[in-house]
């Protein structure tokens, strides 16, 4: 399963990267650097999808009480946080060139940073609780609360005039990009999702291993 995903991901990425670097022309105002959009936007799509899946897994844990959902939620959140880091980093580099500033405290960037901090807090909370059921229960609630911020981040460029560009993708009633420029975003998103799936599978397995270690340790000390 993992190898199938890895193969699909590799193929998608190579095809896309070739297209991004070789075929597409430079953007009129920005030169070559606009191509970062093909990492920046798919990464945020992947990150937000991850956070929403974690929301579902957290809800599933709260409803069923099965710790495997909690393990999955933690894994997905961690991977999504990695992609959120990529979004912030690529955004800052892009902004440094185009706007001349590394950061701006507009609505989108600030709420996105808040999102990052919320889920980093989620991971810190998990580290702070030893008891598995309590850890699962409390972090599930934090995950659910954190998702509300994602809605605000998503809508921020529509509701406010921000330093960050206004909606551009055609699905958001934006001005649209040049011909053939929008499709690679979605293909790259698929590639990133495959990559994220691989990472989540590995991480979930690690969570299960950690729980097995806990129960084995308890068994060993019981003798």
């Amino acid at each position: 399963m993992l190898f199938v995903l890895a193969a699909v991901c590799a193929v998608l990425l190579s095809v896309n990267l070739y297209k991004i670097f070789m075929i597409l022309p430079d953007e009129a105002n920005q030169g070559a650097i606009y191509r970062i959009v093909y990492v920046h936007v798919p990464a945020i799509f992947t990150g937000f999808t991850g956070f929403f899946i974690a929301l579902g897994a957290s809800a599933a844990y709260l409803i069923t009480g099965k710790l495997k959902y909690d393990a999955f939620a933690a894994a997905v959140t961690e991977v999504a946080l990695a992609f959120a880091t990529i979004v912030l980093a690529t955004g800052m580099i892009w902004g440094r060139i185009i706007w001349g500033i590394w950061w701006a405290w507009d609505a989108r960037l600030t709420t996105m940073l808040a999102c990052w901090l919320i889920y980093a807090g989620y991971l810190m909370l998990r580290r702070a609780i030893d008891e598995p059921t309590q850890r699962a229960r409390l972090s599930a609630v934090v995950s659910i609360f954190g998702c509300v911020d994602i809605l605000i981040v998503w809508k921020s460029i529509e509701w406010w005039r921000t330093q960050h560009p206004a909606p551009v993708l055609s699905v958001r009633d934006g001005g649209g990009m040049g011909p053939g420029m929008e499709a690679p975003i979605y293909w790259n998103w698929l590639a990133f999702m495959c990559l994220a799936a691989i990472l989540v599978i590995v991480r979930t397995r690690q969570e299960r291993m950690a729980r097995e270690i806990d129960s084995l340790r308890r068994m060993a000390h019981a003798y």
Partner: protein, 53 residues
Amino acid sequence: MIDARNFTYMFYGFAAAFVILVVYVVSLALREHKLRSEIDRVRRMVEQSEKKI
């Protein structure tokens, strides 16, 4: 000096994304290694305790 097509910074951007991913994958691999050795150690501990009984 910024070249007219901003190529250098584009590569910095892609490199940043790549580096973050690599760092995360490496951290996963390290954690995997730590977990596997820990699980082997604890399994051996359980077997030893069972043998004593």
